[in-house]
Amino acid sequence: MKKRWMKLFAVVIWLAIWFIAAIIINDSFKFPGPVETLKALFTNIISGDGFFRTVLTSLLRILLGLAGSFILGLVLGVAAGIKKGFADFLEPIVTVIKSTPVMSFIILAMIWFKFSTVPIIICFLMCFPIIYSNVKEGISQTDKKLLDMAKLYKIKPAAIIQGIYLKSVKPYFYSAANICLGLGFKVTVAAEVLASPDYGIGSRLYDAKIYLEPVEVFAWTFVILVLSYLLEQLLKFIFRDNKKGALANGS
């Protein structure tokens, strides 16, 4: 409880710093403060200009991109962790995806696909290697002694994957998923800015750039931060440790 209050206190302090900085700069056009930002946000919400559709469309794209990278990264990562030959086969393509600048992918995706699907593909491409590499690493770190135990008790391969490999990989997957949540938002919105589909937070940021409205950039960025925080909490909830019971004493 105390920890939660400390976190809230830190947020309040940084909001205060932002508020004071805006007063010092004293140019709400170039550097809007929290009050102007919230005003712009509420104006967007009540204007009936598709605020919720914009937010939900971006959120859906992010979730689709993340879901694709999570599922494929997990399946291929498990397979690559178990079979080194398969990992060697995938290594070149994963390296290419990792090393290629995101802008190259966005431009190519804009040429090859519908603008509305470009952000999903970019989110997938940026997150997949992270999930894949972490899962593969987690699998290779699986305790060989547990695998020997399972072999000895003649446990079927599917149960070994489910009961040992996937459980061992959980912290690695969680860590990768956490990174991907933040990254997913960034690259999806960036792809929306460039592809500018009909609906999307990135498209609204692009409009803000065209019409020189920094306060809109602040307001939509605030929306991204809130969504990102909520997804992070959801991830924490999914991966929560549901162990119970006190530490036992004695033998």
Binding site: D148, Y153, A159, G245
Partner: protein, 240 residues
């Protein structure tokens, strides 16, 4: 069919851990393999169970056998609770009333009220109890034990060996019990095989007829202990 090993050789990178090694074990008794640390006892168990291949030789009496194994480190799944750790190894077993079987072994090992606990919430002794319960709940025809009480204090060791014997008397399987501690061997074994190293060989075998902690004849015990110690220290059998 009794478990027999004939001329077994096991090499690691050209180094022979087992060299032309032969030994016979009795069915449905506790066979103890006593030898100093690092002499190849664990390798022997791993080869018998099929966890490791062997280079040459013959093992008979294990065809299609199932094994239970109580390891030195408990090898429990820390993400599963006590009950689920046992359930996990029974998933593919053809057992009629699985829950009753699990309850039975949780009861005998005193773990019933901890069935929802996770391994890292248990003490070392409780973890090893769970490992024993898992091994007995699994219908392995041969039970392998690799110094399972090594890390425990003497009081706990006595408790657990007593519990083990209680469990075994209800379900008398062939047990191969590896240890380097004479007292442990004398507390549990029906027969003791003393192994000498480099190359590993059986130097002495004695049957002590399942006294298992209820030994009343102190003189007999002292004579036996002297013989065993002689073999352990000299790598030879003492002449009667």
């Amino acid at each position: 069919m009794a478990l027999k090993i004939k001329n077994l050789t096991k090499e690691y990178n050209g180094h022979k851990v087992l060299d032309n090694f032969s030994i016979n074990f009795d069915d449905n008794v506790i066979n103890c393999i006593l030898g100093e640390s690092g002499c190849g006892k664990t390798t022997l168990l791993n080869v018998i169970s099929g966890l490791e291949d062997f280079t040459a030789g013959e093992i008979t009496g294990v065809n299609n056998s199932t094994f239970s194994y109580i390891f030195q480190e408990t090898r429990l799944l820390k993400w599963y609770n006590v009950r689920k750790n046992i359930e996990y190894v029974l998933e593919d077993c053809n057992i009629e009333d699985r829950d009753a079987r699990i309850n039975k072994y949780l009861d005998i090992t005193g773990l019933s009220k901890f069935s929802e606990y996770y391994p890292d919430q248990l003490s070392g002794g409780m973890k090893q109890r769970l490992s024993i319960a898992r091994a007995f709940a699994y219908p392995g025809e041969i039970l392998l034990m690799d110094e399972p009480f090594k890390a425990l204090d003497i009081k706990l060791k006595k408790e657990l060996t007593d519990e083990f014997i209680k469990l075994w008397k209800e379900d008398q399987r062939t047990v191969l019990f590896v240890t380097h501690e004479l007292e442990e061997a004398m507390m549990m074994a029906d027969n003791i095989h003393i192994l000498g190293d480099t190359p590993l060989r059986e130097v002495y075998r004695t049957d002590i007829k399942a006294l298992k902690g209820q030994r009343s004849n102190a003189e007999e015990e002292i004579v036996l202990k002297r013989k065993l110690l002689y073999s352990v220290f000299t790598g030879q059998k003492e002449e009667d």
